[in-house]
Amino acid sequence: MSGKNVRAKADGLTEVSMKINGRAYRGEVEPRTLLVYFLRDELNLTGTHVGCDTGHCGACTVVMDGKAVKSCMVLAVRAKGAEILTVEGLAHDDRLHPVQVAFTENHGLQCGFCTPGLLLSTLTLLQRNPHPTEEEIRRGIEGNLCRCTGYVNVVRSIRAAADSMAKQEVRGRS
């Protein structure tokens, strides 16, 4: 959102506000505060995880303005005014999102550390491409590393999620 020149001194704190999971949040950060640390340390949204230093593992993936991004590669100040979805925002009133249901029903998680990021990559993948091929699924989650599952049941879970979301779409329309 342009319009105003923003300056934040290295030594100082600057205010940021953004919408996360439908709620407004604000906080004070240094310019160098990464979005993932703002979420985890300032806002106590610890569902988004940190797994590496170089933006490779994807455990920190959130949805920002409709796109899956690695929140360790986004400055909190850059996310000012953004609409963010984290794993905490997937379920509604205790009802799991179809993607979450698909992952538990298909054993798409073991230790669970990479899972939040994977769920959000899956969500945006399926929103854009509701019927992905296996190759498209694997490519879509290429930026989410998992050491436990071998990705076999992850791919199954995503297929199942695609099926159930398609069914819901149909039901919703009829």
Partner: protein, 818 residues
């Protein structure tokens, strides 16, 4: 005769632990916060080998964020012990401290620890610590270590950490006179576990009560408690060690003694503040216990019919500054010799110290290496003789495959036959032939590929618990003991105590239940059942992805007739679970599960005993389900309910403990088939198909078992294709980020099919045989054999025998044969 057992309790769809993990409400150590917590950072050595001349904290101390600092000198003043090391099997004690004293011995070794107020300032302040080093020559290869010109530990007379050998018959002679001999230099490069969650610790010290509260990423809270107690000279009961959710371990969080929990405890004690530390991924690569880095110079001889007559090998392992756990290379040796009849054997093992980070039990902990060595050799031999690689295995299976182990795993023959059937082996061979004919006709133009098939096999089995503590001999003299054969041939070098009956809970010589020491072959459980029929399982196991929160609940549900939703499983808390070994080494479902079943049966015994007394029905006809008893015989009086029985007993709940020790641990066997295509111009490999036939006995939860195999196999694929910790000649780690150390992504991974055969173990109470590492154990050889099979199409004689088989290494292998 094998059968996939029917479950009496069907597995739930989805695990108990899933919900919190899916909704971001899991509790990993770095998620935890304590009011007023301070942040610890580690200053790490820039040199592989150097004297520490000076540590300058002066700039640091003037920062408003600075709270405290520790150096090696402080540890000495506090009387902190050296880094713990097991002596099983015996290794030369490597005396070093959690903060380097006088000398650093690997790049990344902690030199100082600092405590700061704000997390965001931590790295700034670490940079303000100045350390003057006097560099020393670094020992960065096994060759240099052997020379001994520079000693990694000055109080050793050489750099050999362990020696061992296995010898029976006359291998040299047998090889000299055998018609078929193959030789190879095999190896797996240095690799790491790389769990997605880096190590983390949060500690708090209660001054008033002199109690340490420790949250840590560990596979065994009891193991950490023991280490902290012994290293800090503080009684164990002063520590309350906990872990809730953990993002994978794969051995790197299992019982290594790392500096950070101890240092955090010291800081907490000194300052009264809670102390938090989380590794960066770079620190994880620099410090986490590494594995593999084992090399095997092997000669194998067969007679005209392809029956093995001899095996001679030199095994060498680079153990860095050596580690807390040190059994890996001997497990390799033992694994290598275990599956086939080999009448003459001569194996020498040397483990070398170098200026690299310590070694640890990375998934498989020696078994992948050993299985790779023998299985690669077998396939090379099959090629030499000109018979099918699976056929060669068939001809050589040990008469009682997995000759230790009371459970009698499915005969290896059956696994191999199943592999042939399920893979549609003949069709695969035909497909391979078509692909390779096309390549032969058209050459590499148009990006043609060649195809290769590789197999690998490991018979199930385990070790007799009686012999494990019997290590003897000084490793310096080169006779480190692993249970040795009496020279009767491969079949008999272990004696199993139990002949099919699981051992009861431990009773002491007075026949009373006592608190035994636990070890690798045992595990603790306590189960409580309240009058409403709700059960709680307290286990010494420590699941971090393996699903015991669900599978143990299934076991208890099955035994006690309690609905799954009414069973909860508690672990990872030394205050709630008084004893335990932890989760590693593919043993939780087998040992931990048996302990759970044992405790449940003791509960039933108590309850049925009371019901029998009250109703006159013989206890052996009784069963319980959903809080109601029933009998298979006619009864005159109706049977009381659980609540009624408890009231009669004057209790609100019943509980029982088990310190369950197996007479023999059962590991699953596996036969794997890997199909790859190779683009010879690039050297690029694609795994197009992967099959596992496994026998893990009874599966408590089939989905969880298969998940373990999927992950284990991919671990082996990564280790065979991509993964290597690379160093320069100064001992600097060149692969310290996830950009440079490459683990497989979803794009690099194949579909993995799993087929089950099996017979339940009778050594465990739940019929289970351990499977967590099985995929990795058997996988390396399958992949490497497949690659070599494809290579033979491109350039006969081209071989690649050291993993990882990167595109460049494959390219070089092709070019080497002109």
């Amino acid at each position: 005769m094998s059968v996939v057992l029917e479950q009496t309790v069907s597995e739930p769809k989805g695990r108990v632990e899933d919900r919190r993990l899916l909704t971001g409400t899991g509790r990993f150590v770095d998620d935890l916060k304590m009011e007023g917590q301070a942040y610890m950072g580690i200053v790490r050595s820039m040199y592989a080998h150097a004297r520490i001349k000076r540590i300058d904290l002066s700039t640091l101390r003037s920062s408003p964020d600075f709270i405290a600092a520790l150096t090696g000198e402080d540890l000495l003043k506090e009387g902190v012990a050296t880094v713990s090391q097991n002596q099983w099997p015996p290794q030369k004690p490597a005396k070093r401290y959690h903060l380097a004293v006088g000398k650093v011995r690997f790049v990344g070794e902690p030199v100082a620890a600092i405590l700061v107020r704000r997390k965001i300032a931590l790295e700034d302040l670490i940079e303000q610590v100045g350390v003057d080093y006097e560099p020393l020559p670094a020992v960065t290869t096994i060759e240099e270590s052997k020379k001994g010109t520079t000693l990694v530990f000055e109080d050793w007379r050489d750099n050999v950490s362990q020696s061992a050998d296995q010898k029976w018959g006359k291998a040299e002679d047998a090889i000299a006179s055998a018609p078929n001999v193959i030789r190879a230099k095999l190896g797996i490069a240095r690799q790491e576990s790389v769990p997605m969650e880096p190590h983390s610790v949060l500690t708090r010290y209660d001054r008033g009560r002199d109690l340490y509260e420790v949250f840590a990423t560990v596979q065994s809270v009891h193991g950490l408690r023991e280490q902290l107690a012994s290293e800090l000279h503080v009684p164990e009961e002063k520590f309350h060690v906990k872990v809730m959710d953990m993002g994978g371990g794969f051995g790197s969080k299992g019982a290594q003694s790392y500096p950070e929990p101890l240092l955090a405890c010291l800081f907490s004690r000194r300052t009264g503040l809670p102390v938090k530390w989380t590794a960066t991924r770079t620190e994880e690569f620099l410090e986490a216990a590494t594995g593999r880095d084992e090399y095997c110079d092997i000669a194998v001889a067969c007679d005209k019919e392809g029956r093995l007559v001899a095996l001679k090998a030199n095994l060498e392992c680079d153990a860095g500054v050596t580690g807390t756990q040190n059994h890996m290379s001997q497990l390799s040796m033992w694994t290598m010799l275990g599956g086939y009849r080999i009448p003459n054997v001569d194996v020498q093992l040397r483990v070398y110290a170098t200026n690299k980070m310590p070694m640890g039990p990375v998934r498989g902990a020696g078994a992948p290496e050993g299985t790779y060595f023998i299985e690669r050799a077998m396939t090379i031999m099959a090629e030499k003789i000109g018979i099918d690689p699976l056929e060669l295995r068939r001809r050589n299976l040990a008469p009682r495959p997995g000759q230790w182990g009371a459970g009698g795993p499915a005969p290896g023959m059956e696994l191999i036959d199943a592999l042939v059937k399920e893979s549609r082996y003949q069709e695969l061979l035909k497909w391979k032939s078509e692909v390779n004919s096309r390549f032969a006709r058209q050459g590499p133009s148009k990006s043609n590929v060649v195809a290769g098939l590789g197999v690998s096999f490991r018979s199930g089995g385990g070790a007799d618990s009686g012999d494990w503590s019997e290590g003897s001999g000084e490793s310096e003299s080169g006779s480190g003991q692993w249970p040795t054969s009496e020279g009767e041939g491969a079949g008999d070098w272990r004696q199993s105590e139990a002949e099919g009956n699981p051992s009861p809970s431990w009773v002491d010589s007075r026949g009373e239940e006592a608190t035994p020491t636990l070890d690798f072959t045992s595990e603790y459980a306590r189960v409580t059942l309240d009058k409403s029929g709700r059960a709680t399982v307290y286990t010494g196991s420590s699941p971090h992805g393996q699903g015991e929160e669900t599978s143990f609940a299934q076991l208890a549900s099955e035994e006690l007739g309690t609905p799954l939703g009414d069973v909860s499983v508690v672990w990872g808390d030394t205050a709630l679970v008084p004893a335990g070994i932890g989760t590693f080494g593919s043993r939780s479902a087998a040992t931990g599960g048996s302990a759970v079943v044992d405790a449940c049966r003791k509960i039933k015994s108590q309850l049925f005993g009371k019901v029998a007394t009250v109703t006159g029905v013989d206890a052996k006809f009784l069963s319980i389900r959903k809080g109601r008893f029933s009998s298979t015989t006619q009864t005159q009086t109706p049977l009381p309910t659980l609540a009624e029985v408890m009231e009669m007993m004057g209790v609100t709940g019943v509980s029982a403990e088990s310190y369950f020790r197996l007479s023999s641990i059962e590991y699953s066997g596996g036969a794997h088939l890997c199909v790859i295509t190779l683009d010879p111009e690039l050297g690029a490999v694609r795994v197009v198909k992967y099959l596992v036939v496994e026998d893990c006995g009874r599966m408590i939860n089939k989905t969880i078992v298969e998940g373990q195999l999927h992950g284990g196999v991919l671990h082996a694929i990564g280790g065979s294709l991509f993964e290597k910790l690379a160093y320069d000649d100064q001992g600097n780690l060149l692969t310290s980020t996830m950009m440079d150390y490459c683990i497989p992504t979803a794009v690099d991974s194949p579909e993995v099919e799993v087929f089950h055969r099996g017979s339940p173990s009778t050594a465990t109470l739940d019929g289970v045989k351990g499977v967590g590492e099985s995929g990795t154990n058997v996988g390396y050889a399958a992949v490497m054999n497949a690659i070599n099979d494809a290579l033979a199409q491109v350039r006969p004689g081209a071989r690649i025998d050291v993993a990882p088989a990167t595109p460049e290494a494959i390219s070089a292998a092709i070019a080497t044969v002109s």
